[in-house]
Structure formats: C-alpha cells, structure tokens
C-alpha cells in the first residue's frame, strides 16, 4: 500500500519535475513570467490607487463658503438700518424698488460684486447686475440654503418683505411676487 503511494507520488512528481534539463529551463521561464505578471499587476494596482487617491482627497474649500461667510449678518444690519426715518426693510417692502439711497447703501456694505449679489429675487438691477445663482430656491418665508453648483459655492439668503408673501404658495406666484429680497454670496473655486 505504502509502496503504491510512493510510486504514485513519484510519478506525479516526475510529471511536474522531469529529469530532462530542457523541461527545467521551461519551468524556470514559467516562474519568471508568473513573477513578472504578479509584479506588473501590483504595479498597476498601485498606479490605480494613486490615481483614485486624488479623487479621494476631498477639497474642503468646496464644502462651503470661506470668504463672505459673515455676509448674512451684514444683511440683517442692512435691513434694520434707518434711512430717512424708515428702515431699509420697510422701504423695500413698500416701494418694491431696489434703487436710490437703499441700493447705494447695499453697494457700500457688499462692495465686492464678484462675491455678492443683492436685490429682489428674479430681477436684475443696475447695481449688482443679474443673479449669480439661477436655480430656484425652496419656498419658505425665510431660509438658509447652501448649494454647490459647478465651480461656484453659493450661500443664499432670502427675506420675505411684508405680509404679502404669505399668500404665495407656488413657485410661479413667488417668482411673480416683488416681496422676496435676496442676498447671494458666491465663491468661485478653481
């Protein structure tokens, strides 16, 4: 029984490792090729890993605003400022017009027109031009919304002016209204 096993093992072994020298050379070539294939595969894996490492590296400057982060505070101060016995909030709500002294004060408070836009929602004005963020905001009376759009990171703050806004419950009505005053702060990320 034992002899048979030894004989069988020896025949298997001689099948893989025959005494012929040519076959030994062939074996060595096989091992070398296998080694090279393994190393190439590993090298490719390392290359892929280093490629995806760039994608994995999250740029925190894209996560939110850095400059202009305090603009929301300026907006509240601006709306509370008294001009000719009436604050800006009331003036805008009654006149429905972003012009004159009210607009000039906004230009002084938000001087960087690359960064800021203020005015009535959906209406370009002579002081800040067109809105930076063309996407429609969610409909709430007051909201805080951070949106990443292409290479822009925009912080938007909209303030309803007066009771009129409360009856608007659809997007079309909001867009038709003059009652939504808006601040946009948009940074361009390289």
């Amino acid at each position: 029984m034992l002899d048979k096993q030894v004989l069988k093992r020896s025949s298997i072994h001689s099948c893989f490792f025959p005494k012929n020298t040519n076959a030994q050379v062939s074996d060595a070539v096989t091992w070398m090729v296998a080694t090279i294939v393994i190393i190439v595969l590993l090298g490719f894996s390392i290359y892929l890993t280093s490629y995806f490492e760039i994608l994995n590296k999250f740029d925190f400057s894209d996560a939110g605003l850095v400059k202009g982060n305090l603009a929301e505070k300026s907006l509240y101060g601006y709306l509370l400022k008294d001009l000719n016995g009436k604050n800006v909030y009331s003036t805008l709500g009654e006149d429905k017009n972003f012009t004159g002294e009210v607009a000039l004060l906004a230009v002084k408070i938000f001087p960087d027109d690359e960064l800021f836009w203020t005015g009535f929602f959906g209406k370009p004005n002579n002081y800040f031009g067109s809105q930076k963020d063309n996407l429609y905001p969610p409909i709430t009376t007051s909201f805080y919304n951070l949106r990443v759009k292409q290479y822009h990171v925009c912080l938007t703050k909209s303030i309803s002016l007066g009771e009129e806004f409360k009856q608007f419950n659809t997007l079309e009505n909001v867009l038709r209204s003059d009652a939504l005053f808006r601040l946009e702060v948009c940074e361009v990320n390289d």
Binding site: H13, F17, P18, K19, Q24, W31, T35, I38, I39, L42, S45, I46, T49, S50, F52, E53, N56, K57, F58, F60, S61, A63, G64, L65, V66, K67, G68, N69, L70, A71, K73, S74, L75, Y76, G77, Y78, L79, L80, K81, D82, K108, I109
Partner: protein
C-alpha cells in the same frame, strides 16, 4: 533533479511573492489614506463665525460687547464672553503656544477705527501677510460684516482668525 532542493526553492519563492504582495497592499493603503485632510480653513471659518455670533446677533451688536459707555469687550474678558476654548491635545508641543489666534477690529462704518480685541497666539498674525500664505503655513481668514448698535449707528467689524496645527493637517 533534486526534489527536496526544488521544493525549498519554490517555498522561498512563494514567501517572497507573499511578502511583495503584502508590502504592495500596505503601500496602497498608505497612499490612499496616509495623507491627512487639511481642515484648518474650515476651522478658521468656524472660529470667525463663532466670534461673529458672539459680537452681533440679528443685525445688532450684543450688549455684552457694546453698551452706552462704548466697547466693553477687552482682551481679558474676550475668551470668557465669547465662550472660547483654545485648548488642544498635548502633542507636538502644542500646549506650549496656542494654535489659534483671533482678532476683532471694531470701527465705525466708513469711519474711524475704534478698538482691537485679541485672543490666542499673536505670533501667528504674520501668516496673514500675502507673502506667507501657503498650504504649509497656518491658515488665515479675514472677513468683515456690518452691524448696528442700539441707537442705529453703523459699525464695521473685521474678524481675523488663524489656525496653525500644521503637523496634523499638512501631508
């Protein structure tokens, strides 16, 4: 052919391959996760926001910062008034010098300078200069906002916040 000899060579070969594969896997993990995330810019932004919230709320300067006698916020009471804590973990000798600096500059809107209030490591302030701004240096953020006092006078409040922590954020 010597059977024992060839077996040993094959075993050594497999161990070598095993070692190479293991080393490659470790290397790939290090490439992918080895570099730290640089959160200092966000951290300095949060610090500035925290201080701004302390100074002004809903468009008005807070009473614990400005009262009838003027600006009552000082270097001595700044940390306590604004609930700031610049404590950091005890590594890289961080506990010797503060890793943070914050400066609040009060001035009238389009008017004269009123007061500076600071806290933290003032040596970091140089890194706000343009020539020192780089990813390897402490992160500096300068931002300002408009606010009113109780009588409706307008102020410009400029906040400068710096975070060092270079060792843990720069890869």
């Amino acid at each position: 052919m010597n059977k024992k000899g060839s077996d040993k060579i094959v075993s050594v070969y497999w161990f070598a391959i095993l070692f190479i594969i293991a080393a490659a896997v470790v290397y790939m993990v290090l490439i992918f996760y080895g570099k730290p995330y640089d959160v200092r810019e966000i951290e300095s932004s949060l610090l500035a926001k925290l201080v701004a919230d302390c100074v002004s709320n809903a468009g008005k300067i807070n009473e614990n910062v400005l009262d009838g006698s003027g600006i009552i916020l000082t270097n001595e009471n700044f940390m306590e008034t604004c609930h700031l804590n610049f404590g950091v973990e005890d590594s890289f000798d961080w506990s010797l010098n503060s890793e943070y600096f914050v400066n609040v500059e009060f001035s009238m809107f389009e008017g004269e300078f009123l007061k500076n209030v600071t806290a933290g490591n003032s040596n970091l302030l140089d890194f706000c200069k343009e020539e020192f701004k780089s990813a390897n240096n402490p992160s500096c953020l300068e931002d300002s906002f408009y606010s009113l006092d109780s009588e409706g006078n307008a102020y410009k409040i400029k906040i400068t916040s710096l975070v060092r922590k270079t060792e843990k954020n720069v890869g």
